[in-house]
């Protein structure tokens, strides 16, 4: 065996960036979409109101959060698969 498998290291880096930085970014986009609308603007600068009330924003937010949840479910399935090599 070789000392270091650069191919696999790159895979961890690329997929790590996609899952570890990409998914939180999608979550952030969801928060941003959620905040669109009048309610956050009238609430003022030191409020913790996140939901703005814009319908399109709400739909986009729901989509983002669903993507993140689906990815988490997939992640848990992966953990399960590692522990159960026969269950592929």
């Amino acid at each position: 065996m070789s000392w270091i498998n650069l191919g696999e290291v790159w895979k961890v880096v690329v997929f790590g960036l996609l899952a570890g930085a990409g998914l939180p970014a999608i979550f952030a986009l969801g928060l941003l979409s959620l905040s669109k609308g009048g309610r956050t603007q009238t609430a003022g600068a030191d409020s913790d109101v996140v939901v703005g009330g814009n319908p399109a924003g709400m739909v986009a937010a729901a989509f983002c959060f669903l993507v993140v949840l689906a990815a988490i479910a997939w992640g848990i399935y992966e953990v399960y698969k590692i522990g159960h090599p026969a269950a592929k």
């Binding site: 065996m1 070789s2 000392w3 270091i4 696999e8 290291v9 895979k11 961890v12 880096v13 997929f15 790590g16 960036l17 899952a19 570890g20 930085a21 998914l23 939180p24 970014a25 979550f27 952030a28 986009l29 928060l31 941003l32 959620l34 905040s35 956050t40 600068a45 030191d46 409020s47 913790d48 109101v49 996140v50 993140v68 988490i72 992640g75 848990i76 992966e78 953990v79 399960y80 698969k81 590692i82 522990g83 159960h84 090599p85 026969a86």
Partner: protein, 382 residues
């Protein structure tokens, strides 16, 4: 066959698993506790439960942690017991100083040390040790830091139009989810390592055939031990990770835990057994690098890195010493003397820790350069 010795080894292994749990609570929960996304006690309870679930997610221990690194034909129950003693001692010492060091390295180091003492250096697969343990240990914190820094940058960039309070509020929820994933991954990875050691002991003792996977009682007891350890919470390590390295805000917390979860799960699926501690620490440093104006306390990071370098050899020296002592006395009595000594060391470290107590009440106090927060002034307390 020596069932008395086997029972002692299993108990010692479960004790190691317990120290593994409380040493590593911070890997998953330090950032959520620091940003107050979760109250300290809820955080450790959640993490404990998820560690138990994680232990069950992985029902077949494919290979024991040591089988690829040492020649198992040369391993005896005394070797395993001495190796565990080395691992536990290092875990407790680093916990006392609040240093997040790798429990996996402590275990591997201990077992390698006792194997060398018992059979000599030729019993170690040195090349595998470097390729499977040392190189991943060097790379994983760097990769985790890169992912976490990227995530942190993106989160602040995307959410910059939100008010500070709304942002904190929103990302705290994301933090709870991502920290839960780390707890789950931790239960799977780390509980499996102890399951591997106990299975190795069962095989060495010919209680089970050499092809056996971990019996159910091994999975259950390892899951419970790591979960209980996690629940008790290594507050000293949590404090260093959550307050000592970087002052963390909730977007950084979410970025750090997402990076840790992704890197741990991905590496496991590619067959790298790496240290959850190294990954979590790398991620937290990464969030400090990814946010403009955030400060990474490099002196704290440097002290940790130094401890990491010493983990394998130091646990190894204790493991070797424990084997030499047990061998000198001989038989079950030798192992019993080892374990009594281990208990004495553990008790001494515990008593020492009481002098500078860190618990759920003061874990979030201002970082003043040491693990134990300064005693509050009577006037300030009022």
């Amino acid at each position: 066959m020596n069932d008395t010795l086997l029972v002692l080894v299993v108990i010692t292994a479960l004790c190691f698993d317990f120290t593994n749990g409380f040493h590593d609570t911070g890997n998953a929960m330090a950032t959520s506790i620091a940003t107050r996304a979760l109250s300290p006690r809820v955080a450790v309870a959640l993490s404990g439960v998820l560690n138990l679930v994680g232990a069950f997610l992985s029902l077949s221990v494919a290979a024991t942690i040591a089988s690829g690194l040492v020649d198992t034909k040369l391993v005896t129950l005394t070797v395993v017991a001495a190796g565990l003693a080395g691992g536990i001692t290092w875990n407790l010492l680093t916990w006392l100083f609040g240093i997040p060091s790798s429990s996996s390295h402590a275990l591997i180091g201990g077992v390698i040390g006792s194997t060398i003492a018992a059979a000599g250096g030729h019993a170690i697969q040195w090349k595998d040790l470097v390729a499977k343990v040392v190189i991943p240990a060097g790379l994983s914190p760097i990769i985790a830091a890169l992912v976490a820094a990227t995530g942190t940058y993106l989160l602040y960039r995307i959410s910059r139009s939100l008010t500070d309070r709304a942002r904190t509020h929103g990302f705290r929820i994301g933090q709870i989810g991502s920290a839960s994933m780390v707890s789950l991954a931790h239960g799977t990875n780390d509980a499996q390592k102890t399951m591997g050691v106990i299975t190795l002991a069962l095989i060495v003792n010919r209680t089970v055939p050499s092809t056996a996977s971990a019996p159910f009682w091994v999975i259950l007891s390892c899951g419970l031990a790591i979960s209980l350890g996690t629940y008790l919470g290594g507050w000293r390590v949590i404090r260093t990770l959550g307050k000592g390295l970087v002052e963390i805000e909730s977007p950084q917390g979410m970025a750090a835990e997402s990076a840790s979860a992704a890197v741990i799960l991905l590496s496991s699926s590619f067959g790298y057994s790496l240290s959850t501690t190294h990954v979590a620490t790398g991620s937290i440093i990464g969030t400090g690098l990814g946010k403009k104006g955030a400060e990474v306390r490099w002196n704290v990071a440097g002290r940790m890195a130094t401890a990491w370098l010493f983990t394998l050899p130091a646990a190894g020296v204790v493991g070797a010493g424990a084997y030499a002592l047990a061998h000198l006395i001989g038989g079950n009595a030798g192992v019993i003397v080892d374990l009594v000594l281990l208990l004495a060391v553990a008790a001494a470290i515990y008593l020492r820790s009481r002098a500078t107590k860190v618990d759920h009440n003061n874990v979030n106090d201002e970082w003043t350069g040491s693990v134990a927060p300064a005693e509050p002034e009577p006037a300030a307390a009022a």
